[in-house]
């Protein structure tokens, strides 16, 4: 019997580790790694200068700025208000609570194009909401933020909600009896417990926003240098049959997204280990 085999099996307490790990790796390879590596391989057909000029042209740089900043802002907004929504849904009893609870999932279920068209109509200068606003939303970068916030909402609510449900009120009561005021209880008891879930929700909402296309193109106006998102430029490249150029931009988006998600995961591990606020 080879030593490596013994080493692998020695540590697992549950039976079926080899099979489960094998299946996991195969599944991840088929669903995630192989399609993604296809993008990298296609990019590898480019020369370095061609790659560099494809991913750093002014229009592409402007689109990174918009995509990353709007995604970040939308994820932050959702982290804040998603927490409030989850809190209200878990902590209070009120009529139609289940209905409101179900509403949260709608952005998941709705085809993104429908969401985009609806938001554009609502926020255009003749729309129900847009006509009352002193500034323009549809066809501006602000519209991008609105669409990304819409599609990202369920992620935070749905990750925070179960943790909040498990959070025992006794802990808060204990904090109160020990002399903590409400703010201290919130900061020292509730937030540390919720932080990992909140970060997960934030990361999911952020990642989703980076790749979002369907809802954004309707509301963005898609003006070069102003309101073009990176996924649109990828489509634009494809439209010119520039497969390599498209995958080059996609690769940049992927790598940056991966690094950011890794960082968020690390932050999560750190807060879970008892550090943080």
């Amino acid at each position: 019997m080879p030593r490596a085999h013994l080493l692998l099996t020695r540590h697992s307490v549950l039976p079926g580790f080899n099979l489960a790990l094998g299946f996991t790796l195969l599944y991840l390879a088929l669903i995630v790694l192989i399609p993604l590596s296809a993008a990298f391989l296609k990019t590898a057909t480019m020369t370095a200068p061609a790659f560099w000029s494809a991913v750093t042209s002014p229009r592409v740089l402007a689109s990174y700025r918009l995509t990353f900043s709007a995604s970040l802002a939308a994820a932050l907004l959702n982290a804040l208000f998603g927490l409030v929504v989850a809190w209200v849904l878990v902590r209070y009893e009120f009529p139609a609570r289940r209905l409101v609870d179900a509403l949260v999932d709608l952005p998941f279920a709705l085809p993104t194009a429908v969401a985009g068209i609806a938001l554009t109509a609502l926020y255009s200068s003749h729309g129900w909401l847009g006509q009352w606003l002193p500034f323009k939303v549809s066809y501006t970068p602000l519209g991008v933020l609105v669409a990304l916030t819409f599609i990202g909402l369920p992620f935070v609510v749905r990750t925070v909600q179960p943790v909040l449900e498990d959070l025992q009120q006794e802990a808060e009561e204990a904090a109160a009896t020990l002399g903590a005021d409400r703010w201290q209880t919130f900061r020292r008891v509730i937030v540390p417990t919720l932080m990992p879930a909140l970060l997960t929700g934030f990361a999911l909402a952020f990642a989703r926003a980076l790749g979002e296309y369907g809802s954004v193109i309707f509301i963005a106006g898609n003006m070069p240098m102003v309101s073009e998102i990176t996924p649109l430029l990828i489509i634009t490249k494809l439209e010119q049959y520039d497969y390599a150029g498209a995958t080059a931009i996609a690769t940049v988006l992927l790598v940056v997204a991966f690094v950011l998600l890794l960082a968020i995961n690390a932050l999560q591990a750190w807060t879970r280990a008892g550090h943080g606020p």
Binding site: Y139, P224, L238, E239, Y241
Partner: protein
């Protein structure tokens, strides 16, 4: 042979051969027509007409499936393996790419059917708000301050490329017109564009339903359709002094029809577009027929305007694409030059 299972096997065999015999007598054929966005209604009608003709002629039942989307995206699907028996796209460049990248049809495909393989033509015109409040009459009015122009992004929309070239070609053809002046004109035109949708249908929606802009650059058939759909009391159609002759081409995809054994039907399908019946259907859907008699019948719908071709003015699609719409081309320079 008295064993029950042998009897059953015999019965099955008999049934199979019967079905096979029947299918020799009357075949069921399916064709896939991969087309671009605004032809949806046209081909829904045409497919029915063709199926009836083909049934009468050969006894076979033919079912034509349609696929619609942006022209470039559709071409890419075919390149990537969508088995289209025929392609009917917005511009020749997209079919050229299918030939060049996937080698599914020969490079001279456009010579195989009459009129550059375009059984109907169209052009790019203006749709304005009812009563034409901004007084838009010609291309020169589009660059005036305060006029808001809606068009799709030429980099993602085949239709918008025709529109862009129509504007550029008009500027070239003005007295003293040259490339520098035309570039300046097109830059000023796009400075008046507040929204760039990715497809022609999208910009129609932006203009007609969102109420954005004073003038929409539109396919002639889309403009006519908008009048029909949203009411003649909402918009007016304005014909500029000249525009581009848009030839949306059609082609049989050789490799696919040979593999599927559908060449005869696919070929007949495209040829039927050139018959009086096919031309009549095209005209009813606001595509300009090439048949003189059908054209004469519908003359009222299609005002005569001066039309220039892409070959004469821009030296063909491949060249126009490279100069204007490729990365770093004239269109990109409009936005990055500042």
């Amino acid at each position: 042979m008295t064993h029950p299972s042998s009897v059953r096997r015999l019965l099955v065999a008999a049934t199979v051969s019967l079905v096979a015999a029947a299918s020799v007598l009357a075949k069921d054929i399916t064709l896939l027509n991969v087309s671009y966005d605004p032809t949806r209604e046209l081909y829904a009608d045409f497919n029915k007409a063709f199926a009836a003709r083909w049934k009468a002629k050969t006894g076979d039942t033919v079912l034509v499936k349609q696929s619609h989307g942006g022209s470039g995206k559709q071409a890419r699907s075919v390149i990537d393996g969508l088995e289209a028996d025929v392609v009917t796209l917005a511009l020749a460049y997209d079919i050229d790419e299918i030939g060049e990248r996937a080698k599914l049809l020969p490079a001279d495909w456009q010579k195989r059917l009459p009129h550059n393989s375009a059984p109907y033509t169209s052009t790019y015109i203006f749709l304005v708000r009812k009563g034409n409040p901004k007084g838009i009459k010609d291309w020169s009015d589009l660059v005036k301050p305060g006029v808001s122009v809606i068009t799709a992004n030429p980099k993602t929309s085949g239709g918008a490329r025709w529109g862009y070239l129509a504007a550029y070609g008009w500027a070239l053809r003005q007295p003293g017109g040259n490339d520098a002046r035309a570039r300046d004109f097109i830059a000023r035109l796009f400075a008046n564009v507040p929204v760039l949708d990715s497809g022609a249908r999208g910009s129609t929606v932006t203009f007609a339903e969102r109420g954005v802009g004073d003038v929409l650059l539109a396919w002639e058939n889309e403009a006519q359709l908008s009048l029909k759909e949203f009411g003649v009391d909402k918009f007016d159609i304005v014909y500029p002094s000249s525009s581009i002759l848009a030839e949306p081409p059609v082609a049989v995809v050789d490799k696919v029809v040979d593999k599927r054994g559908t060449r005869a039907a696919a070929q007949a399908y495209l040829e039927h577009l050139y018959t009086p019946e096919g031309q009549e259907i095209a005209a009813r859907h606001f595509y300009r027929p090439i048949d003189d008699q059908v054209a004469a019948k519908h003359a009222k719908v299609f005002p005569k305007i001066s039309l220039f071709t892409i070959d004469d003015t821009f030296g063909g699609w491949a060249k126009a694409q490279k100069t204007h719409f490729a990365d770093g081309g004239v269109f990109d320079q409009i936005y990055t030059r500042k």
